[in-house]
């Protein structure tokens, strides 16, 4: 298999006057979980449709698993599994029948089909309910089943379009756990679109951020955090007086210091020892309960990138 699972070069897609995807150039290494982040309407779903060959690009090109999306879409679909915007399950059929249908579609033999259906349903904790009509299931369970369906034929690439969107907290956590397990179990590449930063932070080794179809940043979550800001120290305590804060802000290593509800956040200009800063605060009458080194969350990175783009 190629070392690059997905390659996009100046990929563009217009719908009339609207440019949904605007010159995307991106490489997704094989065997990684890649997060494709962006707000609603950023062009994430259109990108997935382009990668599956369901839409033709207006300009540029993309290859998936070494196959051109324009001319070899059937080869791509043969080797990928997809969980799209909607779960796409047949609600009148049982969970087992839904998987049976897609197992046949991917030409798994009867024996293989039987084994895989049992395996994926067991992994998702749905085996006991396999005979039930999917229409009677909760949204979270349906999403789990859709995830099981996407991996039924052991695809080399999984394309997941906002797999936890619209789920309640418990269901989203359950699906996220399944995704984490899937990522650690399978050697395949996972291309995951989301606007949930916690999800990307937990699951993805690399992320790309898009807005209005344009790529804003790409890299590991740590690299993106570095872009958004330097190291950070968080101090929990009491007595953060103005005097203490003024002394702290006067330190050359301190870029900014903000207090909120007994919680002081200090942004540093560079990595440095925190002990002198803590001593300074204690000397100014602050009662320190906890000190921890922190870093910008992916959500902050995302917001910074959105602000920069504006």
């Amino acid at each position: 298999m190629t070392m690059t699972a997905i390659r996009m070069e100046n990929l563009r897609r217009d719908f009339g006057a609207v440019r949904a995807v605007d010159g995307l150039t991106l490489e997704v290494p094989a065997g990684t979980v890649f997060g494709f982040l962006g707000p609603n309407g950023a062009g994430k779903t259109t990108t997935i449709r382009l990668l599956l060959g369901l839409l033709e690009p207006t300009a540029g090109q993309a290859t998936v698993l070494g196959f051109d999306t324009r001319t070899q879409a059937a080869e791509i679909r043969e080797r990928t599994g997809a969980l799209l915007e909607h779960a796409g399950l047949y609600e009148q059929l049982s969970a087992e029948e839904n998987l049976e249908f897609y197992g046949r579609a991917w030409r798994l033999s009867a024996v293989e089909r039987q084994g895989r259906v049992r395996e994926v349903l067991t992994e998702m904790g749905l085996w006991e309910r396999r005979k039930e009509r999917v229409g009677n299931w909760s949204r979270g369970m349906r999403q789990k089943l859709a995830l099981a369906r996407a991996q039924l034929h052991r695809p080399a690439l999984l394309l997941l379009d906002e797999p936890t969107a619209g789920l309640d907290v418990m269901a989203a956590v359950a699906v996220r756990d399944d995704l984490a397990a899937l990522a650690s179990r399978q050697g395949s590449t996972i291309f995951l679109t989301t606007h949930n930063m916690a999800e990307a932070e937990r699951l993805c080794q690399q992320v790309a951020v898009i807005r209005a179809g344009k790529l804003l940043a790409v890299g590991t979550p740590d690299a993106l955090r570095a872009h958004a800001g330097g190291p950070r120290v968080e101090i929990i305590g009491r007595g953060f007086s103005e005097t203490a804060l003024s002394r702290l802000r006067a330190q050359p290593v301190v870029a900014a210091a903000e207090v909120q509800n007994d919680h002081l956040t200090i942004d540093l200009r560079a990595e440095s020892d925190t002990a002198p800063l803590v001593s300074l605060l204690v000397g100014a009458g602050v009662q320190v309960e906890e000190v921890r080194r922190g870093k910008a969350s992916l959500e902050e990175v995302f917001l910074t990138l959105m602000e920069e783009e504006k």
Binding site: L84, H86, A105
Partner: protein, 246 residues
């Protein structure tokens, strides 16, 4: 493509059977028309059912239209409405496989029900009016019924797929199909009856002179052409990118 079509047909038939049960009509509802046309009418007609009665031939064309129109509207419109179409299109199934699978399921269902009804009619006539001798449809008549019912189902299937491909909702597809079936089932008869007597005679004369066999062959040829044209139109209309954007 054949394997793909069989896979899609398997799913469609599974859904047909569940939908029938879901409507609360059960097996009796599904079998109502075959029971009327396979038991009641043959019983009334007696031995004429397998000799001079026009009903078996007429029903062999009429019944598949009715059966196909009851299921074909759902083929694509239902997938679109229930948001299953995009996942289906994202699978490895070929476009031809999906299209032919859906068509084959509807045509196979309608053709099977029609042949079942005609066979049931034969059994009824033999049981009630047989008087010790085996009554069979004449070979030409049996051949005509098998051929015309298949081609009739194909005609309605082709129209139905095109309608379903273009309809945003199942309801709209069903409404259009209702109008089309009414036009096909009754429109032709009423249009013929509306013609002046002289015109009707002029039209019927060559048909009567040609004999039933030739008329059936001509009808079969016309249906075959229509079926082929509709299938080609459906294949041209069935494009993944187009369906995604619809």
């Amino acid at each position: 493509m054949i394997a793909d079509a069989l896979t899609v047909a398997w799913k469609e038939l599974r859904e047909f059977s569940i939908r029938q049960r879901g409507l609360g009509r059960g097996l009796l509802g599904t079998l109502m028309i075959p029971l009327v046309l396979g038991i009641f009418l043959p019983w009334q007609e007696g031995q004429r059912w397998v000799s001079t009665s026009p009903f078996p031939l007429v029903f062999s064309v009429w019944m598949p239209l009715l059966f196909v129109s009851s299921v074909i509207a759902d083929s694509f419109a239902d997938e679109r409405e229930r948001h299953t179409l995009e996942t289906l299109l994202a699978s490895r199934l070929s476009e031809g496989g999906i299209l032919f699978g859906k068509l084959a399921a509807a045509v196979g269902y309608a053709w099977g029900m029609t042949l079942f009804s005609l066979l049931l009619g034969l059994v009824t006539v033999n049981l009630i009016h047989g008087r010790g001798e085996l009554l069979l449809y004449p070979a030409e008549m049996a051949g005509s019924m098998v051929l015309l019912s298949l081609l009739g189902a194909g005609l309605m299937g082709g129209i139905g797929v095109l309608v379903s491909l273009r309809s945003p909702t199942v309801r709209q597809a069903q409404q259009v199909m209702y109008v089309v079936s009414m036009a096909l089932l009754f429109g032709v008869v009423y249009a013929f009856r509306a013609l002046p007597l002289a015109w009707r005679e002029a039209l019927l004369q060559p048909l009567l002179a040609a004999g039933v066999e030739r008329v059936v062959l001509a009808a079969a040829a016309a249906l075959l052409l229509l079926d082929g044209g509709l299938l080609a139109a459906a294949m041209a209309r069935f494009r993944r990118a187009r369906l995604i954007l619809d």
